[in-house]
């Protein structure tokens, strides 16, 4: 601290300093530019999709229409419940189904490891062990996803091992199994990290007391650990769900046809079908699903802030 005195540098600087000391000035100078940047380069581009979704062709130059949303949900087919004529709704439903399965598996995987880290890990290893969970979170998910190709393929690691044991090969790649495995792998830190925070804060005396009173391990889990870690589990699970609902890379690399997901059909509209308006309508639907899930979860009391406490992640 070598605070040099600033006397005698002239009145202009002092006056500027005085003026710039007001909270309104400081608040607007610090938040104004970033709000403007985020509006121009984030909000407007996303809003542009909303605009495109309601025009027949070029934005503002063609007639307004709801035909793109009608193509997604053909009303007559919806009313007569003919699912066969609603391919986009079925794809969305399957994507959300996959997202639910991935969320449940991620939570199931997260309980043992976070219980170990929170309650049993030796103190000097704990920091390292937690860091080891966080680090993959910040490394290329593209690489971590395609790494499953040599593991799951028909002549890959798992099927070679099965063949060695004389067992029949399993179809694991280019189907929904590949999508689910890949998504669990990429997103499981989203549940591990907030659940670890809950497990770490869990008073171990409660568990000991329950055990001393004769509760079985299962009962301790059900009546002590589960309820006390539920907020972390719900927050983490919510993030896994909304990230999975919009997954593109994993199903495109590992999912084949039966593991195809909604974001892929959106990309197709911009990449090869050149139907921006329909793609924009599908994008709007995906955003509504994601923000709608968040809204409902917050309304039901899920503490969403827990979900991004420790992690972040490049996803």
């Amino acid at each position: 601290m070598s605070g040099e005195p600033s006397h005698g540098r002239g009145g202009v600087r002092d006056r500027l300093l005085e003026w710039s000391d007001s909270e309104v000035f400081k608040g607007s100078v610090s938040l104004g530019p970033v709000l403007a940047l985020l509006t121009v380069f984030y909000a407007i581009p996303v809003a542009l999709l909303l605009v495109y979704s309601v025009f027949a062709g070029d934005a503002f130059e063609s007639p307004l229409t709801l035909e793109h949303f009608a193509r997604f949900a053909d009303l007559s087919a919806v009313l007569s419940l003919s699912w066969g004529d609603l391919p986009y709704i079925r794809l969305l439903a399957r994507s959300l189904g996959i997202a639910v399965v991935v969320t449940v598996i991620s939570l199931a995987i997260s309980y043992p490891i976070t219980y170990y880290l929170g309650q049993h890990a030796p103190d000097r290893w704990k920091v390292l062990l937690v860091m080891l969970v966080i680090i993959p979170f910040w490394t290329s998910y593209l690489i971590r996803t395609y790494a499953w190709i040599p593991i799951l393929s028909s002549n890959g690691f798992i099927n070679s091992a099965l063949g060695f044991l004389g067992l029949p090969a399993l179809p694991l790649l280019n189907n929904y199994v590949g999508t689910i495995v890949g998504l669990v792998y990429v997103f499981v830190p989203f549940t591990i990290l907030p659940m670890y925070a809950s497990m770490d804060g869990l008073d171990s005396h409660l568990i000991e007391a329950a055990r001393d009173l004769g509760a079985s391990r299962w009962r301790v889990f059900r009546e002590v650990i589960f309820p006390l870690t539920l907020p972390g589990a719900l927050a983490g699970g919510l993030f896994v769900f909304i990230k999975c609902a919009a997954a593109y890379v994993t199903p495109a690399l590992l999912g084949g046809t039966s593991g195809r997901m909604f974001a892929q059909v959106i990309e197709t509209q911009f990449g090869s079908a050149f139907n921006w308006n329909f793609g924009a309508a599908l994008s709007v639907i995906l955003v509504v699903v994601v923000l709608g899930s968040l809204y409902v979860a917050v309304r039901l009391g899920v503490d969403v802030k827990r979900g991004r406490g420790l992690g972040g992640g490049g996803l």
Binding site: M1, G3, P5, E23, G27, S28, S30, L31, V34, L35, L37, L38, F41, Y42, A43, I44, P45, V46, L48, Y52, A59, I109, P112, I113, H120, L132, I135, P136, F137, W138, T139, S140, L142, I143, Y146, A147, I149, P150, I151, N155, G156, S160, R211, R217, I242, K243, Y248, V249, L253, A263, I266, E267, F270, G279, V287, V290, L291, R308, G312, G314
Partner: protein, 268 residues
């Protein structure tokens, strides 16, 4: 088993984790790191279409000779550095606005708009929106759209990291400096910034690694002249895995694991 262990066992004491719990934890770490090890293994294996069990450095040699891969790697580093600087500066400024200054009084909606919405909206939607936006403007694809997209993407993370530091900052230090006659600018430079340095550095490193590994935004706004490495890797993996992709992936993993490890340590 010693007598003490036997007694403890009979008493049902819960000193250590059960073997099942330890095994499940170990399996989870295997799950987290297995695929990363597979990439490393494949990068040194001679098999072109699967594991052959012969050591080779051919893929690394090929990679070093492929200008498309090296150019893409250098471009990704370049984008990452520009994004790192811009994103960190914006994050420091915004963090003070969110965590320190009295005005505006209600920070909730601003924090939601600046940080929470960008963190939760699907990245593919943002990538597509940015693509449509720059196409409409006539800018098209390239370096500048990628940098802008990455800054918007890394900024919320960087802001969270810096804001956590601003909240934890001991204000008495700054007040002491002011009492001793330091003006606000000097105080900021000599007291505030050094105290915030770990968070600012962590934010910078996170911004770099997020940008370096970012794929979806780049996928939509990168063009012929400017193909960052993840987009290049995507092309190689989509077609038919060329083993060189494992070699360049190991380089990427080393870079991002080192930086993420450093940033995670700093952030604690």
């Amino acid at each position: 088993m010693s007598v003490a262990d036997g007694i403890r066992d009979r008493l049902g004491s819960e000193d250590g984790p059960s073997p099942g719990l330890t095994a499940a934890t170990a399996l989870t770490y295997l799950f987290l790191y297995g695929p990363i090890l597979v990439v490393v293994l494949m990068s040194f294996d001679a098999g072109r279409y699967g594991l052959r069990g012969e050591l080779t450095f051919e893929w690394y040699a090929n990679m070093a000779g492929r200008s498309d891969l090296i150019d893409a790697l250098l471009l990704s580093v370049q984008i990452g550095l520009v994004v790192m600087v811009v994103s960190t500066v914006l994050a420091v400024v915004a963090a003070f606005g969110l965590a320190r200054f009295e005005w505006p009084r209600r920070k909730g909606p601003i924090a939601t708009y600046l940080v929470f919405v960008p963190l939760t909206l699907p990245i593919i939607i943002y990538g597509i929106g940015l693509f449509v936006f720059f196409t409409e403007l006539g800018v098209g694809r390239g370096f500048v759209p990628i940098v802008i997209g990455h800054v918007m993407y890394t900024f919320p993370f960087a802001t969270l990291v810096v804001a956590a530091g601003v909240i934890d900052l001991d204000r008495t230090l700054e007040e002491a400096a002011m009492d001793l006659g330091a003006d606000p600018v000097t105080t900021f430079r000599e007291v505030t910034l050094p105290a915030l340095a770990p968070n600012v550095l962590a934010a910078a490193l996170f911004s770099f690694t997020l940008s370096f590994d970012e794929f979806l935004i780049s996928f939509f706004v990168s063009g012929a002249g400017a193909i960052p490495l993840p987009v290049r890797i995507w092309g190689m993996v989509r077609a038919d895995i060329e083993p060189e992709v494992y070699a360049i992936s190991v380089v990427v993993l080393i870079i991002s694991i080192t930086i993420a490890g450093l940033a995670t340590r700093l952030r604690r």
